[in-house]
């Protein structure tokens, strides 16, 4: 037997904010000890399996379920005929229609793969088999398969997304050098390692849900509203999450189905959404197309940007994938015009997927800048530096911090950009054409209030408690680091409890807003706990500090002592024993003083009402990055291999550089997948995504990923968050695909403007 050397968690100093600690829960995950939502042992489970539509548009005329119902083990069959008695839940902003019933198994079908029925049986296998006995009659109507369907048309303009300043068309017409091109991105999916699903259990009118979640309080409220329950009656538990990437922020139709079944049966129900069903149980990134026109002087000074974008949405909801999100803020430009459309097609309503908006937007503008550089005969790095935005030209506001210049120059230095031979197709090794490309990225700083609780126990251990979640990004670890620093207690004495809607509320783990928000709340709470502890030590009748005459004490390394060093010094458990205190509990939040009421608090933890955008204050606040990619394209086969990448980031202060670097690399890897492989293949006849499994929908393997060098050029930004960090999770993917596409152009002289860069487009 071999025993693995236990991994060192870093030195003591690493315990504070900024230390390179390894993830606390990492070992549990790799050894299988971490219990994910669907693994919770719940007794007497029944198993639900979903049935999804196989047509894109029309209605369910009837479902003959007699045979299925009679099949062995079957307990219940739910179809559009069943009134589940649910009411519509609030939207993201906390708005809720009055008295609007909600049918998670709709009769009207608006996309292929929509959930229309469920079979619940003693075993999953029995349910799967019984589904084959359902006779579903459809009344099919013509549908629109996707953005490329000739029937899709141009869609409608989203007025709130139109942006303009100066006179872009006139400036364009007057420009010495112009380019115009259309860029496209396909449907892309989250494909988190952990598929969706839940276990729902009722005890009277108390409902417990075990479900992976990016936002426990909001999802608990979703269930409460569906079932007309007081919010406190629903408890949602999400201790570990196997990746979300934007897909696990709200309760979904299948959850309503499982919880309804559990209530009807009076038994806990587990529902595992199959991998193919994950492709349509919630929306991935919408397919997009955008036209970009750039005008510049002969020496490369940008004069105008004209952007026209469109993204597909469902026929029920206008969800724009904002292809104009990064376009206005990357460069200095005095004349700008942007308009965005949504094109309804028969798809599940698209959703947020890592770097929403910014990602396809950067693909457009960053490829366009490369085309302009090529037309000008200019180094694309020089073109970017030349048009460096000294402020936010859209709002006129100054940047809070913007180290993009440093990202470009330091990234270029590390990459060896100066050795680039600029002519396309001028670098090769045998039959491998080599190309180098740049792509910049950005993601806004979004702030939201959060709450936290700190408990100091009699044994000296400290608990940090929050309903925030950890989906691998490192919440458990950075909160221990934050509390350690603010409280003066070593990290190994701190336990972090997360992922339960019964715990204090928090920002969503989305839009890169969680770390900045929740560290702020924990820092505030820990500081308050420390003050209370010191207050007790100074004032408690039996405290040895009472008579020292000190007016404050210091807490460091888990010991409390007189700051001058003359006087008692004791460990926390010793103090707790001396003063006869069994526990000290402190809860704080970062809501303003005038919003401390229950209604305001609940709204803050369950809606976007209190979320602050990047330009709501004096400054314009964003994370920034510059990616440098090297590709090798086989001249004969058109296969693209990314052989090297250097990426430099400005994300402000890093709470734990090791975990930040992992998040950046994760984003870059996802970007490589987006650049080279990922594409939902839609059958034009019935709107079905036919590669709805991980055998056919390709994501990168280890063999596809070279060494990824990441560099931090950020400085603390105290406007962006309490501790000075900006978001790190989303920005990593933004700009990767254009860096690779630009490198492919440099290698081959061939400009591919629609992702992914598969070999058929390059041979």
């Amino acid at each position: 037997m071999t025993i693995m050397e236990p991994r060192k968690h870093g030195s003591a100093a690493d315990g504070f904010v900024g230390g390179r600690l390894s993830r606390f829960e990492g070992q549990m995950k790799v050894t299988g000890a971490a219990t994910y939502a669907l693994e919770y042992p719940v007794e007497n489970l029944a198993h639900a399996v979903l049935v999804q539509s196989t047509i894109a548009s029309g209605r369910v005329v009837s479902v003959d379920k007699a045979e299925a119902q009679a099949a062995p083990g079957v307990l219940l069959v739910l179809t559009p005929e069943d009134d589940l008695g649910l009411m519509t839940k609030s939207d993201w902003f906390g708005n809720r229609p009055d008295n609007e019933p909600y049918a998670p198994l709709p009769r009207e079908i608006s996309y292929n793969g929509e959930t229309i029925a469920a079979v619940i049986a003693e075993s999953r296998e029995q349910a799967v088999e019984a589904i084959k006995l359902l006779r579903i009659a459809y009344d099919e109507t013509p549908g629109v398969a996707d953005l490329h369907d000739p029937k899709a048309g141009d869609g409608k303009v989203m007025d709130n997304l139109s942006v303009s300043w100066g006179d872009a068309e006139a400036a364009l017409a007057a420009s010495a050098v112009t380019i115009e091109a259309e860029y496209q991105t396909p449907r892309e999916y989250h494909v988190a390692m952990e598929p969706h699903g839940l276990t729902a259990k009722w005890e009277g009118d108390q409902l417990t849900i075990w479900e992976p979640s990016q936002w426990t309080h909001a999802m608990a409220l979703n269930y409460a509203e569906w079932f007309g329950l007081p919010p406190d009656n629903v408890r949602l538990i999400s201790t570990f999450v196997g990746g979300g990437f934007g897909s696990k922020g709200a309760a979904l139709a299948y959850g309503a189905v499982a919880a309804s079944a559990a209530r009807k049966l009076g038994r806990p129900v587990k529902l595992a959404v199959t991998r193919p069903q994950n492709f349509t149980s919630y929306g991935g990134r919408a397919a997009t197309r955008q036209t970009i026109k750039l005008g510049a002087t002969k020496d490369g000074v940008l004069q105008a940007i004209v952007h026209r974008g469109a993204s597909e949405t469902s026929v029920t909801t206008d969800y724009p994938e904002q292809t104009g999100a990064a376009t206005p803020i990357l460069y200095k430009v005095e004349n700008y015009s942007s308009q965005s459309r949504v094109v309804p097609v028969n798809t599940v309503t698209p959703g947020a997927l890592r770097g929403p908006g910014k990602n396809p937007s950067a693909f457009g503008i960053e490829c366009a800048m490369d085309e302009l550089a090529n037309k000008l005969g200019m180094d694309p790095l020089e073109l970017r530096l030349k048009n460096y935005a000294d402020r936010d030209y859209q709002t006129g506001k100054p940047w809070s911090t913007r180290m993009l210049r440093e990202a470009l120059t330091q990234g270029a230095e590390a990459f060896g950009w100066s050795k680039r031979s600029h002519a396309p197709r001028s670098m090769r090794e045998g039959r491998q054409l080599i190309g180098w490309g740049i792509g910049c990225g950005t993601f806004p700083v979004i702030q939201a209030p959060s709450a936290a609780m700190i408990r100091i126990l009699a044994n000296g251990r400290v608990e940090v408690v929050s309903g925030a979640i950890d989906m691998g990004q490192g919440t458990y670890t950075i909160l221990a680091q934050t509390a350690s620093e603010a409280l003066g207690v070593p990290v190994d004495q701190i336990d972090v409890l997360l992922g339960d809607s019964r715990m204090p509320g928090s920002a969503i783990a989305g839009g890169s807003m969680l770390a900045g928000s929740i560290t702020g709340a924990v820092h505030k709470t820990a500081a308050a706990a420390r003050d209370e502890l010191i207050g007790l030590a100074l004032n408690a009748p039996n405290s040895p500090f009472r008579d020292t005459g000190a007016n404050t004490l210091s807490v460091a390394g888990g010991r409390i002592s007189v700051s001058s060093g003359n006087g008692p010094s004791m460990s926390l458990p010793e103090l707790m024993t001396a003063i006869g205190q069994s526990e000290l509990e402190v809860t704080r939040n970062t809501l303003p003083d005038d919003a401390q009421g229950a209604t305001d608090q609940n709204a803050a933890w369950t809606s976007m009402k209190r979320v602050q955008g990047p330009t709501m204050g004096e400054f314009s606040m964003h994370s920034w990055c510059a990616h440098f990619a090297e590709v090798r394209v086989d001249e004969d086969f058109g296969t693209v291999r990314v052989s090297r990448m250097v990426s430099a980031f400005d994300c402000g202060r890093l709470y734990n550089p090791k975990m930040v670097e992992s998040q950046w690399r994760g984003g870059i890897i996802m970007g490589i997948g987006q650049a080279l492989f990922e594409e939902g293949m839609v059958d034009g006849r019935n709107g079905r995504t036919v590669n709805n499994n991980v055998g056919d929908y390709l994501v990168p393997t280890n063999a596809d990923i070279p060494d990824l060098q990441v560099i931090s050029v950020g400085v603390p930004d105290l406007n962006a968050s309490a501790l000075g960090g900006k978001g790190v999770g989303e920005v990593g993917i933004v700009g990767v695909a254009p860096a690779i596409a630009n490198a492919v152009f440099h290698a081959t002289g061939k400009r591919v403007r629609d992702l992914p860069l598969t070999l058929d487009k390059l041979i």
Partner: protein, 327 residues
């Protein structure tokens, strides 16, 4: 739940007897069988486990050639130095297939009998029409997404491609399958399913693959398997080529050449026209590129897979030039 019976065959004869029952299927590594059962394509009544049958996993290499038992694991064959020396193309075709985990489970017999990756074939709940699953029901792929479908040996009945890698190398080197009662060349074992897509091989109930046999050859020793795909690992071939070459004594005139294609045809595809065009000629890049195009004679595309007609000859060319020392 769909019940099926599971039994472990006590002997070869027992296993062969058991396959005579309707709905009976052998279980080797299970990586194809379970996969297809999960998609609802295969619904066996009886599963006969043969994994423990003794002697069927042997790999023997001698002066005559190689014999690989049907139960030998893909990884065991890929790691075998004797196979590598005699037929590098076979080794490479295995190590470039699937993933390490699958190769550790999967057997050579099962590998030959893997089935097409046609998405329509694999989704019976949504696409009832599939001539391969349900003869006469039509073909859902035609008119749909056909990026991975075949361009050679297809018909209006079915355009699915044979997905495996090893069989391409086997067909190039005239491998023979030992079915116990008869010996069948691999090339004849697979049927191009032009007219009857549901019939994929000549294997009959009561028969079993016992071993794959290959004869040593100079072309075999100088061989390669080139697999081209978008992802660097764990993906089926967009196009692949197994190639072997023997020169005359002058070191440049082609004496013997073997060419087979994967990822583009309804069955492992021997490209005899390419071979014949090159035998007796000096190996030169231009001649090879011209000859490789002959592999695509009669190719039919359904737009999404048009690129294969361009790609496959390039893969053949590179593979030949590689073994010829010209690439």
């Amino acid at each position: 739940m769909r019940d099926f019976s599971y039994s472990r065959a006590g002997s070869l004869d027992e296993a062969r007897q058991a396959t005579l029952a309707p709905g009976a299927l052998l279980l080797a590594g299970g990586t194809t069988l379970l996969d297809l059962a999960k998609c609802g394509v295969t619904e066996p009544e009886t599963v006969i486990d043969i994994t423990h049958l003794a002697g069927l996993d042997a790999i023997t290499v001698d002066e005559e050639g190689i014999a690989i038992g049907a139960l030998a694991r893909m990884s065991a064959v890929a790691d075998h130095p004797g196979v590598q020396a005699a037929l590098p193309a076979v080794t490479q075709s295995l190590s470039l297939a699937a993933s390490a985990q699958l190769r550790n489970m999967a057997t050579i017999g099962g590998n030959l009998l893997q089935r097409t990756r046609c998405s329509y074939f694999r989704d019976p709940a949504t696409f009832p029409a599939c001539n391969k699953r349900n003869p006469g029901s039509g073909c859902s792929a035609i008119g749909g997404v056909t990026r991975n479908h075949a361009v050679l040996g297809t018909s209006e009945q079915c355009i699915a491609s044979y997905p495996g890698d090893m069989a391409i190398a086997l067909v190039a080197f005239d491998a023979v399958l030992d079915l116990g009662t008869r010996q069948v060349p691999v090339e004849d074992f697979f049927l191009s399913y032009a007219d009857a897509p549901e019939e994929e091989t000549v294997l009959k109930p009561g028969e079993m693959i016992l071993a794959v046999k290959l004869r040593n050859s100079a072309a075999g020793m100088r061989s390669t398997y080139l697999k081209v795909r978008d992802r660097q690992s764990y993906e089926f071939a967009a196009a692949s080529a197994a190639v072997g070459l023997e020169f005359e004594d002058d070191g440049r005139t082609v004496k013997d050449i073997r060419v087979a294609l994967g990822g583009v045809a309804s069955k492992p595809w021997r490209a005899r026209a390419v071979e014949q065009a090159l035998v007796g000629k000096p190996l030169e890049a231009d001649t090879v590129a011209w000859a490789a195009r002959l592999a695509m004679d009669g190719a039919v595309s359904y737009s999404d897979n048009l690129y294969k007609i361009e790609l496959a000859p390039r893969v053949v060319t590179r593979a030949i030039l590689t073994v010829g020392g010209l690439a």
